[in-house]
């Protein structure tokens, strides 16, 4: 069964801390994504990676960076966490290509920044 695993279900951090959110997929997918989910705002794309060491900004990249050193792992980094980054973070992956659009999501990390 396909799996996208996010390292933490809940995370509490202090303002100004550097935060790492980790995501691992076991499906040999080319593409990996980080979305942010907020009530009433839906899912918004933060960053996207289509290959190892390759990344592309999404709709709301400000305050975030990403790292993809290995194909199966995609990390989201909050360089200096702020309270407005309190949110549910969802990682997803896909094979890529016109006929492989299905996204597989992890269960999410609920981040609270105090």
């Amino acid at each position: 069964d396909v799996k996208v695993t996010q390292s933490s279900r809940y995370l509490v951090k202090r303002t100004g801390e550097k935060v790492f959110l980790e995501c691992v997929q076991d499906m040999d997918h080319e593409n990996m994504f980080w979305y942010r989910q907020d009530p009433g705002l839906g899912l918004r794309l933060i960053y996207f990676s289509y290959d190892v060491k390759m990344k592309e900004k999404g709709d709301i990249p400000e305050g975030y960076s990403v790292s993809r050193e290995k194909k199966e792992r995609f990390s989201l980094i909050l360089e200096s966490a702020s309270t407005n980054q309190t949110s549910m973070y969802l990682c997803a992956s896909s094979f890529g290509g016109a006929t492989n659009e299905k996204l597989f999501f992890g269960s999410g990390t609920q981040l609270s920044v105090l």
């Binding site: 994504f33 839906g42 899912l43 016109a98 659009e101 299905k102 996204l103």
Partner: protein, 112 residues
């Protein structure tokens, strides 16, 4: 700017009824329109998807209706069940892009 507009924000339906969720888009370059279903505590999962070369796609109790000229598509859930209670997201993808743009979601509650 919101590329995919979804309505309603919440919906309450009685068991056995029909649930209808609507989405509208502006970008005519979109060529793939999926619906995702999300249960509490879980990530979204693909439910059903359609391409603009067909006007309807049905999978069990779930049907997507697509109106290319109006740039609208909708999800119909027939014989709605309490187990269908979840948040539903419509989405769209531009041809040649790997990125999905999501609507804001509809929280569906099906009362027994």
């Amino acid at each position: 700017q919101q590329q995919v507009k979804q309505s309603p924000q919440s919906l309450i339906v009685q068991k056995g009824g029909i649930s209808i969720i609507n989405c509208a888009y502006e970008n005519t370059a979109f060529d793939y329109f999926p619906w995702y279903q999300q249960f509490p505590g879980k990530g979204p999962a693909l439910l059903i998807a359609i391409r603009p070369d067909v006007s309807e796609k049905k999978e069990g109790r779930f049907t997507i209706s697509f109106n290319k000229s109006a740039k609208q598509f909708s999800l119909h859930i027939m014989d709605s069940q309490p187990g269908d209670s979840a948040t539903y997201f419509c989405a769209a993808r531009r041809g040649g892009s790997e990125k999905l743009v999501f609507g804001k979601g509809t929280k569906l509650t099906v009362n027994p």
